[in-house]
């Protein structure tokens, strides 16, 4: 039991997640603030950008960041004694409010192999010798798949790409993509942003 838990944890940590790309030479400790650039709508879905923007504010506030909005410019205040300013941009690469998912529910019988081994001992009356006789029969049962009912539901899906750029030099210093799916659109957006905001929090620590 302990081994299986340990294997799961190790697999979990060493598997390929969408890790952020980071400029290791950049000093994130000297960041004064992060200016959040307006998020454009995804294709023709009016309001999608605003929805992500509002959810982004919520997530930053949840992680105890200080937010300010002056003349339609939104900023995350980090450290007044520092001088570097970062620009945060977010691109919505997928915004599916509702997609229908149908899962056929099937019962699969993978079959089995049956081997019968017969052993017998015979005595030759003339030579008085004992002989062992062995024979085996193997039967393969193919199994079958029974197509049953199906379960149907609709889910939301969202994909985002975040980029942090240094305002003065124009260098891109951090980038991350993330996606999430769920039954509820608002929760799906929140969960998708939660991970990215958490990553930003980690680099600013």
């Amino acid at each position: 039991m302990r081994n299986s838990i340990l294997t799961f944890i190790l697999f979990f940590y060493f598997s390929c997640f969408s890790q952020p790309a980071i400029n290791k030479n950049y000093n994130f400790k000297k960041v004064r603030s992060i200016e959040v650039l307006p998020i454009n709508d995804f294709k023709d879905i009016v309001g999608s950008g605003k929805m992500v923007e509002t959810s982004l504010d919520y997530n930053f506030l949840k992680y105890y960041f200080e937010l300010s909005e002056k003349k339609n410019k939104k900023s995350i205040l980090i450290d007044n004694s520092s001088n570097q300013i970062l620009l945060l941009s977010c691109i919505i690469t997928n915004y599916t409010e509702s997609e229908s998912i149908i899962i056929p529910y099937r019962d699969e019988n993978r079959g089995y192999t049956e081997t019968i081994v017969n052993q017998s001992r015979e005595e030759d009356k003339k030579s008085n010798k004992k002989e062992f006789l062995a024979s085996s029969t193997t039967k393969t049962h193919a199994g079958n798949i029974v197509q049953g009912s199906r379960i149907e539901y609709s889910q939301s899906r969202i994909s985002l790409i975040f980029t942090l750029k240094d305002k003065s030099s124009g260098k891109i210093v951090w980038s991350k993509s993330s996606w999430y799916n769920g039954l509820d659109l608002q929760k799906t957006i929140n969960m998708c942003l939660k991970e990215s905001v958490n990553e930003i929090r980690k680099i600013l620590k």
Partner: protein
């Protein structure tokens, strides 16, 4: 006679399973997540190694803000799935749910 009884029993169990999933689908469409969860739990009594069922269970628990049970469902989904994409999805959900 025995064969007829066995056949009737199998038909009954199989029909029950289908019925649970149909009810779960209808409840999901109506947004009645608690009811859907109940029907899914009933269907799992017959077959509890279907990763897709655990995926839906995980999604419902997330929608209901039940983080603890969502983690259990996604772990089971990962355990029983042979699908690479689904396993990746499980990992993404488990990672996000582990963030405080």
């Amino acid at each position: 006679m025995k064969k007829i009884i066995i056949l009737a029993l199998f038909t009954f169990i199989y029909a029950q399973e289908n019925d649970f999933l149909l009810k779960a689908s209808l409840a999901l469409k109506a947004g009645l997540y608690n009811d859907a969860l109940k029907h899914i739990s009933d269907s799992k009594k017959q077959e509890n190694t279907n990763s897709e069922i655990y995926k839906i269970e995980g999604l419902i628990h997330e929608a209901l803000d039940d983080r603890k049970n969502a983690i259990i469902a996604w772990k089971n989904c990962f355990k029983y799935s042979d699908n690479k994409e689904l396993k990746k999805e499980c990992k993404i959900h488990l990672k996000n749910l582990s963030i405080e």
